[in-house]
Structures are given as C-alpha cells and as structure tokens.
Subunit: 98 residues, 2 copies
Amino acid sequence: MSEKIQTLAGIDRIIHEPARLMIVALLAAVEEADFQYLYQATGLTKGNLSVHLSKLEGAGYVAIEKTFRGKYPLTLCRLTERGSEVFRNYRKVMRVAL
Amino acid sequence: MSEKIQTLAGIDRIIHEPARLMIVALLAAVEEADFQYLYQATGLTKGNLSVHLSKLEGAGYVAIEKTFRGKYPLTLCRLTERGSEVFRNYRKVMRVAL
DNA sequence: CAGACTAGTTTGTGCTGCAAACTACTTTTG
DNA sequence: CAAAAGTAGTTTGCAGCACAAACTAGTCTG
C-alpha cells in the first residue's frame, strides 16, 4: 500500500490541476467541444479557459482548431490520443491510491 | 454530468496537492504515524515533509505532537476529525467527477 | 457611427511547491 | 575529549503557476 501511495508523487501536474481536469473530463465524454460549451460547462472565466486550453495544447493533450461559425470565430477542442491515454492513466492512479 | 464536473473547481487545494494527498492517505490508514515513517513512505525530502505537515496542521487537518523517543525528538502526526471528513469528501468528489 | 455584444488573448500579481542550506542536538571514533 | 558523522527536523530562495482584470479584434443594432 505504501508503495502505491508514491505513484501520487509522479502524477501528471498538467491534468491534476482542477480547471484542466474539468476540461479533460468533459472532452473525454464528448470528444469534440467548442470554447463556449467549455466556458459554460466549467464555469471558468474566459481568460483562464483560454490559458488552460493553451497549456493542454502545449502538452499535446488537446488539439485546437480555430475556424468560424458564420462571421464569428469558433474554437473547437478535442482530446488527442495522448490526451486520453494520460487521462486514463490519471484515473487509474487515483482509483488505486485513494 | 456537466454540473458534477464543476464540483472539481471547488476542490480542497490543501489536500489536492499530491505530496499532501500522500500524507493524508497514509494517515487515514494508520491513524498515527511519526515523521520518519511518513518520510520513508512518501519519499519526500524532510524539508518538504516538514512544510506540508505544517500546512496540514495550519488547516486543522492534522494534529502534530512533538515529544521524544529516548533522547531524540519524535514528531507524531494523526488526522483530525476535520481532516478525515475533508478527505472522505475529496474521495467522493473524485469518484463522482471522474 | 456610437455603443453594446461576441469571442476570445494577454498581462500583472500573488501564492506555493521544491530542493538546498541550515539549526540543534546526540553518538561514535581516533 | 575533540572532531566527525548521524538524527530530526526547519528555514530560505527561487522558479513556476493559477487567477482575474484589462485588453484586442471583429460584428451587430438603433
């Protein structure tokens, strides 16, 4: 048991952050979502959502596609293969350690 | 489902931190442990362990009793009632949201 | 054409986790 | 018995991060 606890020490900080955990959990469920959906579903400010999405993109966990819905910008997000893999592993660590 | 996700936003940052999560999970299992046991079980440096224990004590989650084992200082730690309550709730949030 | 709205991004600040350095005491060893 | 090594932690300095507020850029409305 004491060894399993230490798996927590190596946990992925990128997805461990609650704001990003929300984003990743949502994307894991829907597989594609726009900025506005995530904005409402998470309750984050636009600023934070933007920053966290960039960080997830930088880590290669989320793919972001910028396009248009009519005249307005539309930001589409989905988990990458690597992203869902890391999330699966995160859940496993949490289930085992807690 | 989207509403449950938002419970993550309000998660307790004190115990969410991996190092402290290890400490709290260990204490929840044994109910009383000394510094050395936690030092080995967590793999943290003494410095970090000391700081995290102080933070947990400051939050009222852990009670720390300083005494002696023979000539050497002995630091005993255990979860407070509040500490185990918060930990129970943390686990519940994690189970539900993920 | 001025003000309000949509859809985000950038910036500044303050907090916090981490390891290394340090304190204080005890035991061993030459 | 003095110096070195060990025990048991605490303090400190810095680097990184999350957060909200301010800002950008374009669009609609009266």
